[in-house]
Symmetry: C2
Subunit: 283 residues, 2 copies
């Protein structure tokens, strides 16, 4: 038996080495491609460096920190808007992000933000003149695209518009439960709900169907991105739409979004709620 | 033996009940006191509710999350500026915060922000006209008051100005190593460094001594809070000082602070860096 088992091991060992080499090569090629695409895509938009340096003290002779600690710091920095625009999750954090979004922490993080928003909504409601408004982003705010990202490396792959569009057109994105609860509470308080999404107007029908199927009803406006807005950053596009709301006489008392570009810019909300999202960044 | 053991159990049971009642009573009194103080102190400043609800789904019949997960969510929400102003760390998170600030995560979180800032500083420097400026907060940004907070429950105790002043007057706050490194890098790039602190002007001498002793040298300005600025929020006070810098012709390209009130308001920096601080909140 022994020789046979050793032979099996050797075979397995060699195949593993070969597979590892293939993976390394593919990764290197993809990474380079992503960098080039990223540089080209972002160059016009952003006067910022695209370098992401994860904290490792090893180079300076200090004790190296575990990847989990480094990746948690990366995620925190992203949530606090400390990072330069980033295109993909750092490679060493792929596993960390996968575990986070599939674990209890992501759910808990979403819940805290929703509860804080709910408490605020009850206190901030200005009156019964029907002018209080709350802006909700759609993707990763009301609806979750986790099933899509599960098939695409949880943010490790460079964003593929065509593939993502196919997913959107299925209309099968599930609701984020804590957001659905907040959405209903906000509506019950008599606050107008404006859904402001980066999805294109061509996806109006499927977005309406998906939202309704998941329990979101009776919004006052659903604003999708028109062709004329396609070249704007999300920050500019969404700020302009908020400015329109103000011009129509609405008081934007709350704004929920998973991207800083949902919340910053001009005509910002009295208070903003940043939902966690470690998978992608939209400028 | 049995009767004796039962007697011991009963005695133990009764003492436990008594202790629980005492703890409940003390907790209620302390909580009420904190709320009253908080309400009084914040009423003029902040049109926001001071409720902190930690995420627990138990009340709704869902599975309860471990305290560590809930406290991590609370900390993340604070860092993403999602929370209403808070006065003390939630009681159940006392241990979590203590472990965080004394562990590798806090150091790692500080390092990521400093490295990101450093990368940006190198790219953002505008020219050699001596007009580029970087604003640094002092407490929990350049200097650490961890030795003080270790003696005061790591943010679990309500802030005591008199006690904290005594600590400041010792001049023994250690440098935050990653901030010292960033500070020196920024200076070497020829960027002016403005130290903008909520400390009062009466602490000018001891602050200078403490900073120098810890390796911070050659700042261009150290701005402390004058008596006239004492009733302003930190956001207003610091915004006004940044506006003065701009009026003097400086371009504020970077701003590092552990409080959102260091970074928000008007005359904001081209880019801001929020250092972690789960121990206290300054409006």
């Amino acid at each position: 038996m022994r020789p046979q088992r050793h032979g099996g091991c050797l075979y397995f060992f060699l195949v593993s080495i070969l597979l590892l080499l293939v993976v390394c090569f593919v990764t290197a090629v993809v990474a380079e491609g992503v960098e080039v695409m990223a540089a080209a895509e972002e160059a016009q938009l952003l006067p910022r460096p695209l370098v992401i340096e994860l904290p490792s003290a090893a180079a300076e002779g200090e004790r190296e920190l575990p990847a989990e600690v480094r990746c948690a710091s990366w995620r925190l920095a992203a949530e606090a808007n400390n990072l330069a625009p980033w295109n993909v999750v750092p490679e060493e954090c792929a596993g960390y992000v996968r575990e986070y979004v599939n674990g209890v922490s992501y759910r808990s993080d979403l819940e805290v933000v929703a509860r804080e928003a709910s408490t605020y909504a009850r206190a901030a409601r200005g009156g019964d003149d029907g002018r209080d408004a709350w802006v909700f982003d759609v993707d990763e705010t009301l609806l979750s695209n986790l099933p899509y990202y599960a098939e695409h490396g949880y943010g490790l792959e460079f964003f593929d518009h065509l593939e993502f569009d196919k997913w959107v057109e299925k209309g099968e994105a599930p609701a984020i439960p804590s957001s659905l609860k907040l959405y209903n509470e906000v509506r019950e308080l008599g606050i107008k709900t404006f859904l402001l999404t980066g999805r294109s107007e061509g996806h109006h029908g499927v977005t309406v169907d998906n939202l309704k199927k998941q329990g979101f009803h009776d919004w006052d406006k659903l604003i999708l991105r028109a062709a004329a807005d396609r070249k704007k950053t999300a920050t500019t596009y969404k700020s302009e739409k908020r400015k329109d709301m103000e011009a129509e006489g609405y008081r934007i008392i709350g704004n929920s979004g998973d991207q800083w570009s949902d919340l910053l810019g001009f005509s910002t909300s009295a208070r903003s709620f940043k939902l966690p999202n470690p998978m992608y960044y939209i400028p």
